[in-house]
């Protein structure tokens, strides 16, 4: 299935969840937060949130800033 990840088109295997996506990106789950279609998905639900064709995901972290 095709999703939009931080504005980039990505092809993901069927059955992907937010947790599998975060793991495949080599990100530490405790350092990121995820919005799916502009709704925050709490970390506790990442493993159970199945992704669907056309989903728009924002995966963010904390960076230097004022």
């Amino acid at each position: 299935m095709k999703i939009l990840l931080n504005g980039e088109s990505r092809e993901l295997p069927e059955g992907s969840t937010i947790a599998t996506l975060v793991a495949s990106l080599d990100l530490r789950p405790e350092q990121v937060a995820v919005e799916r279609n502009r709704e925050l998905v709490p970390r506790a639900e990442h493993a159970t949130t199945a992704l669907a064709e056309g989903d728009e995901l924002e995966v963010v972290t904390l960076v230097g800033g004022g």
Partner: protein
């Protein structure tokens, strides 16, 4: 080990919701050359609270370490900001994302008006404050130096108001000290001067106005020697705070001698001041000793 200075010993901590800060200097983490310099500047500034921004992750698989790896959360409170947001809804979303990562309700709300001035947008800022307070956030609000807006933000539930001394990154210092003083008099919540600091004297000056803290980033990160400036800012914040607590002397138009005026040796001449057109002769404290 921390050296116990007069600052910490003779002062109250700065309390921002669940965060209790000994240092009244809050430091941003943007614009440093690398994480090593960031970490060292934080350490040398002796700040207890640093700001961070929320951004999309780097999808490049060769990405390096994270900023979160170099901040010791046991010692340092992390204050996420909503920088880059120009509307209330984006700021609220950003705050929720940061809370999800950090697990704390602290946020520096920043809703700006445009990309050139980076001045806070007052109406959207107030709207976002209300929404975040209702959602349980501890909201520290970046705002202009408008005292009535600061009052409105306090009434909306802000935990602290953070008026700009001058535009973000401009290095102009505190342009309207009287406006900052009026804010300090009108609100009960902590007042933190945020933005505009150029050098150490700006920090001391702000603290001498009686504000509760100063937040800065560029003034350290873009100094020729950031680490030396981090030390300067630490000292300036302490100096300004101590001077405020100590209470400055009133400003006078004329001099008052620090050494005794009596007991001078024979032959010492004490000239009278020149009598200009507007001089008030009856007020002269000294007898005329014209030769």
């Amino acid at each position: 080990m921390k050296n116990e200075t007069a600052t910490e010993a003779g002062d109250e901590p700065l309390v921002l919701g669940e965060a209790t800060l000994r240092s009244r200097l809050l430091v941003g983490t943007g614009k440093y050359a690398d994480f090593e310099e960031t970490a060292r500047a934080i350490e040398l500034s002796e700040t207890d609270c640093v700001t961070v921004a929320v951004r999309r992750v780097n999808l490049d698989p060769s990405k390096g370490p994270s900023l979160l790896d170099v901040i010791d959360r046991e010692r340092i409170t992390i204050l996420p900001n909503t920088a880059g947001c120009f509307d209330a809804q984006s700021a609220v979303r950003t705050a929720r994302l940061s809370r999800e990562i950090l697990g704390t309700p602290l946020v520096k709300l920043e809703v700006l008006g445009d990309t050139k001035t980076l001045l806070p947008e007052p109406v959207a800022t107030l709207e976002a404050t209300r929404e975040l307070v209702a959602d349980g956030f501890t909201v520290l609000v970046y705002c202009s130096d408008d005292a009535r807006l600061a009052v409105a933000l306090q009434e909306a539930g802000a935990t602290a108001v953070m008026p700009a001394g001058s535009p973000i990154g401009s290095g102009q210092g505190v342009l309207n000290p009287n406006a900052i003083r009026i804010i300090r008099e009108l609100v009960d919540v902590p007042v933190i001067v945020d933005a505009g600091v150029g050098t150490a004297s700006d920090v001391a000056f702000a603290m001498e106005l009686g504000v509760d803290g100063v937040l800065l980033n560029t003034a350290i990160a873009n100094a020729r020697e950031p680490l030396r400036m981090a030390v300067a800012m630490r000292d300036a914040c302490r100096a300004g705070r101590q001077a405020f607590l100590a209470g400055r002397i009133p400003r006078r138009l004329y001099a008052t001698a620090s050494s005794p005026t009596e007991g001078m040796v024979a032959g010492t001449v004490q000239p009278s001041p020149p009598r200009g057109k507007g001089a008030v002769s009856a007020r002269s404290p000294e007898k005329s000793t014209q030769a």
